[in-house]
C-alpha cells in the first residue's frame, strides 16, 4: 500500500510525457495537477495505521525492499505533500507553452523521487530515489532564464553526482561487511569495524554535501538562487531534506559515538552562523534566502548530531513550509518587478504578500506560536551551557537578516500587479506555518520573543549605521574564479579535505 504514494505521481509523469506524441499537449496541466495531488488519496490510510511497514512484493525482509512510515519520516512526507501541492498550484500555467510539458514531467518525477526516498528503509533504494529527485532538479535549475543559471546547474550536477558516487561507495562497503541493505537487519547484525567507520564517514560527508552544510555548501546558493521561484521552493524546501533523512536513517541504524558526533555538531553550528553572516551581506533577495537554507540546514543537522532525529524531522517540516513560502512569495515579487535586487523590490502596494512575508519571517525566526518555534523548542532540549546561548544567538541572527529583508521590502516602490493566485498561495502557506505551530505546540512565550525581536532590530540598526549593508563582496562571488574548471577544482580539494577529516575522525 505504501509504495502507491510513489507509483501515482510516477505513472502521471509517464503519461504526461506521451501527451505531446499524441498531440494532446493541452491536457498536460491537468494530468500534472492530478499527479501532484494523487498521493493525498493514500495519506489518510497511512496516517490511520501509523507505524506501518511493508516489504515490496511480499517477500521477506532479507530479500526484498522494505518501505515504512513511522514517526521519523511522517514529518518529511507531510511536508513534501503540502509544499508540492502549493508549488503545483503555483506552477500551473507558469512555464511557456514550449517547455511546459517537459517541465511538468520533471516536477512530477522530482515529486515521486522525493516520496520514494522518504518512505525507504533500504539503503540502495533510498539512494536510487534520492537520485531521481536530484537528477530532475539539475535540469529544472538549468531552464531558468536568470544569467548564470546553466553554470549553476552544471556546478550542482558535478558536485551532487560526486557526492552520489561517494555515497554509493559507502553503501557498498556497508553491504560488503554486514551483508544487508535493509536498515533494520543491518542494525541487528552489526559488528562495528574499521570498514564500517570508513563507510559511515563516506556516507556522512556525501550527504552533508548534498544537504548543503558548511563548508560543503558552495553549490547551494548558486543553484537555489538562480532557479525559478517554484523550483527554488522545491529545492530549498524539499530536495535538501532527502539527504537529511538519509543522515537520520544512518544515526538510527549505527551507533554514533562522541568522536563522530563532535564534527557533526561543530559543522551544524558553523553552518548556522556562516549562513546567517552571508545572508546579512547579500543584496540579492533569492541569494539571501538561499544562504538561509545553509543556516537552517545547520539546525536540522544539529538535531541529527544531538541524536534527536525527531527534532530534526520536525525542524525539516517547519523549514519546508516557511522556506518554501518565502521563496514563492519573494519570488513572485522578484518576477513581477523583473529583478532580484533587494533595493528595487517592494511589497508596500501589495497587502497580502506583505502579510505573508512578515508572517513567514517571524516563522523562520522562531517566534512563538509559529511552527519554527516548535522545531526550536524540540532542538533546545538537548543543549547545555554555552551551546544553548549560541543557539539563541543563531535565532537572533536569523531575525536580524529577516529584519533586513523586510526593511528593504517595505520601502516605497512602483506599483505592480501580482496575480491573485500567487498571493493566495503565499498567504495560505504563511497561515499554515501559524496553524501548524499552534497545532503542534500551543505555547506562547511573549517575553522571550519580544526580547529577541528587540535585540534583532537593534542589531539591524547598528549594522546599518556601521554600513555593513553597503559592503559589496566581490571576493565572495563565484566570479573570482577565472574559469568554471578552476572553481570546481578548488571545491573538489575542499571536499576531499573534509572527507579526509571525517575519515580520520571516524577511524
Amino acid at each position: 500500500m505504501i509504495p502507491l504514494i510513489v507509483a501515482f505521481p510516477l505513472a502521471a509523469a509517464f503519461l504526461t510525457s506521451i501527451l505531446p506524441a499524441l498531440r494532446r499537449e493541452r491536457f498536460s496541466k491537468h494530468l500534472f495537477l492530478i499527479g501532484m495531488l494523487s498521493p493525498w488519496l493514500i495519506l489518510p490510510q497511512i496516517i490511520n495505521n501509523l507505524p506501518s511497514n511493508e516489504v515490496v512484493g511480499n517477500w521477506s525482509r532479507v530479500s526484498g525492499i522494505e518501505v515504512a512510515v513511522d514517526a521519523y519520516n511522517i514529518p518529511f512526507i507531510v511536508a513534501e505533500l503540502i509544499l508540492s501541492a502549493f508549488v503545483a498550484l503555483y506552477v500551473w500555467g507558469y512555464y511557456p507553452r514550449k517547455i511546459e510539458n517537459k517541465a511538468y514531467v520533471l516536477i512530477l518525477l522530482l515529486h515521486s523521487g522525493l516520496l520514494g526516498a522518504f518512505i525507504s528503509r533500504d539503503l540502495f533504494n533510498y539512494y536510487i530515489y534520492m537520485e531521481i529527485a536530484s537528477v530532475a532538479s539539475f535540469a529544472l535549475v538549468g531552464i531558468s532564464k536568470e544569467k548564470g543559471a546553466r553554470r549553476a546547474a552544471f556546478k550542482y550536477t558535478v558536485f551532487s553526482l560526486l557526492a552520489s558516487y561517494i555515497f554509493i561507495l559507502g553503501i557498498g562497503i556497508i553491504y560488503l561487511k554486514t551483508g544487508y541493505l535493509n536498515l533494520a537487519l543491518i542494525k541487528e547484525n552489526l559488528e562495528m569495524s574499521r570498514e564500517i567507520n570508513v563507510a559511515l564517514a563516506l556516507s556522512f560527508t556525501s550527504l552533508l554535501l548534498k544537504s548543503g552544510i558548511f563548508p560543503l555548501y558552495f553549490w547551494l546558493p548558486d543553484a537555489h538562487s538562480k532557479a525559478d521561484a517554484p523550483v527554488s521552493a522545491l529545492l530549498s524546501g524539499l530536495v535538501v531534506k532527502a539527504p537529511a533523512y538519509g543522515m537520520i536513517l544512518l544515526t538510527l541504524t549505527f551507533p554514533i559515538n562522541t568522536s563522530m558526533q563532535k564534527p557533526l555538531l561543530t559543522l551544524a553550528f558553523l553552518s548556522m552562523f556562516f549562513g546567517i553572516a552571508m545572508a546579512i551581506l547579500q543584496k540579492n533577495s533569492e541569494r539571501l534566502l538561499a544562504y538561509h537554507t545553509v543556516s537552517q540546514m545547520g539546525y536540522v543537522l544539529l538535531g541529527i548530531s544531538l541524536l534527536n532525529p525527531l527534532a530534526a524531522a520536525y525542524y525539516a517540516l517547519a523549514h519546508s513550509l516557511f522556506k518554501g513560502g518565502l521563496f514563492l512569495s519573494v519570488g513572485s515579487l522578484a518576477e513581477h518587478y523583473g529583478t532580484r535586487d533587494l533595493e528595487k523590490l517592494s511589497y508596500r502596494n501589495n497587502k497580502s504578500l506583505m502579510l505573508a512575508i512578515v508572517l513567514l519571517s517571524l516563522a523562520i525566526g522562531g517566534v512563538s506560536p509559529f511552527i519554527g518555534a516548535f522545531g526550536k523548542a524540540m532542538l533546545i532540549e538537548n543543549l547545555k551551557g554555552f551551546l544553548k546561548y549560541a543557539f539563541y544567538a543563531g535565532g537572533i541572527g536569523t531575525l536580524v537578516s529577516f529584519t533586513k529583508l523586510n526593511y528593504y521590502l517595505s520601502k516605497r516602490g512602483e506599483k505592480i500587479e501580482i496575480p491573485r493566485r500567487k498571493e493566495a498561495i503565499s498567504l495560505s502557506l504563511a497561515i499554515l506555518t501559524l496553524l501548524g505551530g499552534i497545532y503542534l505546540h500551543p505555547h506562547l512565550s511573549v517575553f522571550k520573543d519580544s526580547i529577541s525581536l528587540v535585540i534583532a532590530i537593534f542589531i539591524f540598526y547598528l549594522l546599518r549605521k556601521l554600513g555593513v549593508f553597503e559592503v559589496s563582496f566581490k571576493a565572495f562571488t563565484p566570479e573570482q574564479f577565472k574559469t568554471l574548471g578552476k572553481e570546481i577544482n578548488a571545491y573538489m580539494v575542499l571536499f576531499t579535505a573534509v572527507l579526509l577529516l571525517f575519515l580520520f575522525n571516524f577511524l
Binding site: M1, I2, P3, L4, A7, L10, A11, A13, F14, L15, S17, I18, P20, A21, L22, E54, V56, G57, N58
Partner: protein, 140 residues
C-alpha cells in the same frame, strides 16, 4: 552524413538480427542469461547503427521522433501499472501470475512482462537521447 554502400548494407543486414536477439533476451531473460536492461541497450544499438550509417534524416522517416517518445512513456507507464496491479492481489510488485513448470516461459509470472517493459523503456530512452542530440547538432 551517409556512409559507404558496404557499411549501409551491412548495418541493414545486422539490425534485424539485433532486434531478434534483443527480443530473445527480453522474453527469455528469466531462463537464460539476459534481462531487460541488456535487451534494451541492444535494441537501441540496432537503431543507433542505422543512424550512424544512414544518417539521422533517413532514419527518422522510419522510426519517427514521436513514436520513440510514445514507446518510452507507454512502457514506463506499463511498468508502474504492472506494479500497481499487484496491489489487487496482495502487494505492490506482487508476482500475481506465477505458475507453470520450472523452466517454462510462463513460470516467471510478471518477470518477462517486467523485462519487456524495461527493455522497451531503455531502448526507447537511448534512441530518444540520440535523436535529441542529433536534432540539436543538425539544427544549424
Amino acid at each position: 552524413m551517409k556512409m559507404s554502400l558496404i557499411v549501409r548494407t551491412t548495418t541493414k543486414l545486422i539490425s534485424p538480427f539485433l532486434v531478434a536477439y534483443s527480443a530473445y533476451l527480453m522474453l527469455y531473460g528469466h531462463l537464460s542469461p539476459g534481462g531487460g536492461f541488456q535487451a534494451g541497450v541492444i535494441l537501441a544499438v540496432s537503431i543507433i547503427l542505422l543512424i550512424t550509417s544512414h544518417g539521422y534524416n533517413r532514419v527518422r522517416k522510419t522510426f519517427k521522433f514521436w513514436e520513440v517518445q510514445l514507446i518510452e512513456g507507454i512502457s514506463g507507464g506499463f511498468l508502474v501499472l504492472l506494479a500497481t496491479a499487484g496491489v489487487v492481489f496482495g502487494g505492490f510488485f506482487y508476482n500475481f501470475l506465477r505458475g507453470g513448470e520450472l523452466g517454462s516461459l510462463i513460470s516467471g509470472g510478471i518477470i518477462p512482462l517486467f523485462n519487456i517493459g524495461v527493455a522497451l523503456k531503455v531502448g526507447a530512452a537511448f534512441t530518444f537521447m540520440f535523436y535529441i542530440l542529433l536534432r540539436w547538432v543538425e539544427r544549424d
